[in-house]
Symmetry: C2
Subunit: 185 residues, 2 copies
């Protein structure tokens, strides 16, 4: 193991995103990312499995945030999921420029889009587990958690398309109201 | 182009699934699939881009079925999506042994799971397009179509876990009722 590098993960993630945005994901090498971050290639591989994973640097933290928010909530399963999504997207909202830059990199690459879908499935699984820990039945836990990701994805797409209008947490709330309306009989 | 091969796609898909189930996805070559189907490797590549795509042979037909079912429906967007999913899963139910064999192959391979998520996203996009053609607002069309895929996925997972109990269309109906209940305020 090399010496301890302060915030190596964050430095690598920021350097990678900048390079991917400037010169494209396919044309960027791990060696370039490490150099731009002032670190070595072996430090990169101690922190990330590959070039794709570095783009999903925040996913683990997001899963923990969503799960702890659900654990703290006392509402219905869907209310708990909604509140968790609002807490998460409020944090995304603070870093809008990087989120949009990252979105453009992912949108340009089918492999990254596939990885992104997998990360969303992992977030849904983390929320479902948190709901089960609260005592929610497995079937309801899975349905509400995955529906939460659908609501997030719809809100996020509109936010990316029309960035100036409403902020992301408000769009999540609006999409949830729309979906409740569409499912009401 | 080679000579016309009757049902080449279907023969290749069946041969591939049998080999993947017997000896594993990673250990199966395109040459082996072609040989088992009594066809050439070049016929394989005229029909499928790669070893993964052959497992998703039915996805195009599924997208067309879902879209045409939604086009024929006169109910609310969510009712149209539910009816389309029941029509589709009734067909899957007829071929339960192959569906389960295919599911086991996908479950054993993270790459195939990623491709499966992408195919589900494509089915949701096809349903959303069909809803827009009926005059549904884009935002509602996307939300209901993607929620439909969530309902399908939940029902499918239970059906795979407990095959003997209810059939797949009934499970889709039950999951939709559960989700409506979870979202009612």
């Amino acid at each position: 193991m090399g010496r301890w590098e302060p915030d190596a993960r964050g430095r690598l993630a920021r350097a990678a995103l900048t390079l991917y945005a400037e010169q494209g994901f396919d044309r960027t090498t791990v060696a370039e990312i490490a150099e731009a971050a002032g670190l070595t290639e072996s430090t990169f591989f101690r922190n990330f499995a590959d070039k794709r994973e570095v783009l999903f640097y925040g996913a683990e933290g997001a899963a923990e945030l969503l799960a702890s928010s659900i654990a703290a909530s006392t509402g219905t399963p869907m209310d708990a999921v909604s509140a968790a999504l609002e807490a998460w997207t409020a944090i995304m909202q603070e870093d809008i420029d990087r989120v949009r830059q990252r979105d453009a990199v992912i949108a340009a690459n089918p492999e990254l889009q596939e990885r992104n879908l997998t990360k969303h499935a992992e977030l849904a699984a983390a929320m479902a587990a948190a709901l089960r820990d609260r005592g929610t039945l497995d079937t309801i836990a899975r349905l509400t958690a995955e529906t939460g990701i659908v609501v997030f994805t719809a809100a996020y797409a509109r936010w990316i398309e029309e960035p100036g209008k409403e902020d992301l947490p408000s769009r999540v709330r609006a999409a949830m109201v729309e979906l409740r309306g569409a499912l009401a009989q």
